[in-house]
Amino acid sequence: MTPLLRRLRQDLFATPADGLVTVLLLALIGAGGFAVLHWALGQAQWAVIRANSTLFAVGRYPLDQQWRLWLLTALLAAATGLSWGMLRSHPRPDRGGSLWPRNDWMAVGMVALLSLALPSLLGLALPLQLRWWAIAALLLLLRWLAGRFGPLLPAPLKRCLPLGLPLLYLLGMVLIGGGLALEPVSPSQWGGLMLTLLESSFAILLCFPLGVLLALGRRSDLPLLRWGSVVYIEFFRGAPLITLLFLGQNMLGFLLPGGVAPERVWRAAWVLTLFAAAYLAEAVRSGLAAVPRGQLEAARSLGLSTPQAFTTVVLPQALRVALPSMVGQFISLLQDTTLLSLIGLMELLGTARTVMANPAFLGRNAEVYFTLAVLFWCCCAALGLGSRALERRLNPSTLA
């Protein structure tokens, strides 16, 4: 018997009972796979996705202003390509100094495949397809340029580059919402994937500092800070998110002076932020608990002030330990944005509801939910993959 066959036999047919289980499972997988394929290729009517792809992407964003979103997408692609190339252009001990590791070629393949296949699968008009190709080409071009010529840039310029990312975020807000000589687009017209990403990125960015502060507060020696953080964290962790969103929509108007309460979209974003901060604080707390007390004492005895000791010695180690559970929280935050559809916002699931209420697409639930599930699964799995890659990079044993 060849080793492969022996291995198969050991893994799948070790005992008669095992063999039976294997055969049953194979039959089950075969039947299930056939049923799904038969449905997806034969019975499903994907026209509902093709006809509404713009709606799913950006909601009811005014047609004549959509160039701003295209511009934003191009800028994001450029920033991605640039940071990707710059990251690779630094020689690192954990990577053998290769500018084009194997994973990068796979990522390039994915980008090319997605930009070529998805627009035509969605049946977009040729000009729109061309735009997606151009955006993908821009990304890959900047990846190549930054990887090739990035190291030649003067050092001060290189240090300033990361500052571009927060600026890009603010610029994105302006592009989406208007202002600065751009025609304002009311948040009630935002929707689809754009709103989902906007809400989740906003909450992820803001809950991070808040969560770290709360975690530090919870471990503080000062009773007032400790109890304040405990009450905050337990309150937000004890209530279902939907009741908190409900509170935000119905009670915030009473809690603030008349007319000051923000737009519904922003109310929801703030509630998401405050909610996520409580969970993030617990993740960071577990990281802080993993840093030996001697680290803080050593830093203090070297003459660092308490804030200095925390920011330069304790927190970097704690956050590295807490990274997997923090990304886990970000993933569930991205998933939690679907709850916004229950309070009437037009994020992905809310848009799906309006699409399915359209008489022309009645009963096309399965296709729409399937598409959304694939979309969410890809986003969440990508975040998980990224987190694992970052973990490997930050792992001290590979940095030595």
Binding site: V21, P240, L247, N250, L342
Partner: protein, 340 residues
């Protein structure tokens, strides 16, 4: 002792610069806490002041009299009898009982399924291991709300009705609900029967309840499977080897040797999952099951009593969480290994 010149001018011997009072070790904590307390007080006073002013202006100052007024809406599926003439508090109580019903059945179901999945990930069969892994990865990366509406709109609402319904001995699953056999009047065992094209049975569960329960169990079981897997992995490998060298089978080893030791790692993790299941049950509103949140939402829309309704909701869920935590902490004490 040689001084390095970079230290700078040192104070003359015997003349130590006094620490300014605002940097004194006893004072700093009080200053920080005082500042925090002051900020919190100002913010709370600001919010409460606004609340009272706005509520007075709207004529909605905090009262609980409205709880006694007739509700005017109906609840399709209740364990507590309820109709539109009964007061709001009876409606909220019926909603709470519905929540408890789905939470309790969900806890039992997801624990069973999750434990089985967690154990399956240690099976000798590679296919079973891989399938379990795939299930967990698929379920955990798709939002629960999406899964719930999928179960309801795509699976349960496309079930056939009438004679085409799925029939097993004593159980019928149709678009109109899940029908179970039970004791009818006078202790007769009655199975589901088709009368004039409508199924009748001693026990009927609605498809809304069925979809919510299935979705919650399928989702929570994936997380519980991970908790159980972590617990089993924490038991030293030597325990497996020792048990099998004594002649115990895989199943006996798992049940009699490994799981009892894994429980002390599993129970705290289960606590978190149970609480999140209790909170997730509030997504019932998406599939049309009238739980506490759904009744509260209707109540708010009818009475406009935002503050009272939100307080009731938050208080009830907090109490539910605390209750589950208490139970699980008790269980945790039971399963801890008692050493001499």
């Amino acid at each position: 002792m040689a001084r390095s010149p970079s230290v700078g001018p040192s104070p003359a011997p015997g003349l130590v610069t006094p620490v300014p009072w605002w940097r004194h070790r006893r004072v700093v904590p009080w200053v920080v806490q005082g500042a925090v307390a002051l900020t919190v007080l100002v913010v709370v006073a600001f919010l409460l002041g606004n609340l009272i002013r706005n509520l007075t202006a709207a004529g909605l100052l905090l009262t609980w009299n409205w709880l006694g007024q007739p509700a005017g809406f109906d609840i399709s599926e209740t364990l507590l009898p309820f109709n539109a003439e009964l007061p709001y508090w009876r409606g909220l109580a019926a909603g709470l009982v519905n929540t408890l019903r789905v939470v309790i059945t969900g806890l039992v179901g997801s624990t069973l399924v999750g434990t089985l999945l967690g154990m399956a990930s240690f099976s000798g069969n590679a296919l079973l291991r891989g399938l379990t892994r795939t299930y967990v990865e698929v379920v955990r990366n798709i939002p629960l709300l999406l899964q719930l509406v999928f179960w309801y709109f795509v699976v349960f609402l496309s079930l056939p009705n009438g004679t085409a319904a799925l029939q097993l001995p004593g159980v019928v699953l149709a678009k109109s609900g899940l029908y179970l056999a039970g004791f009818g009047d006078g202790l007769h065992w009655i199975g589901p029967q088709l009368q004039n094209g409508v199924w009748q049975a001693p026990l009927r569960l609605s498809v809304e309840f069925g979809a919510l329960l299935t979705g919650l169990i399928a989702y929570t079981a994936a997380f519980i499977a991970e908790v159980v897997r972590g617990g089993i992995a924490a038991v030293p490998k030597g325990q497996w080897e020792a048990a099998s060298s004594l002649g115990l089978s895989w199943w006996q080893t798992l049940i009699k040797v490994v799981l009892p030791q894994a429980l002390r790692v599993i129970v705290p993790g289960l606590n978190t999952q149970f609480i999140s299941l209790a909170k997730n049950s509030s997504l019932a509103v998406a599939v049309g099951y009238t739980d506490l949140y759904s009744v509260a939402e209707t109540t708010l829309n009818q009475t406009g009593r935002a503050v009272e309704v939100v307080l009731l909701l938050l208080g009830t869920y907090l109490a539910l969480d605390l209750f589950i935590s208490l139970l699980m902490n008790g269980l945790n004490r039971l399963v801890q290994i008692r050493e001499r």
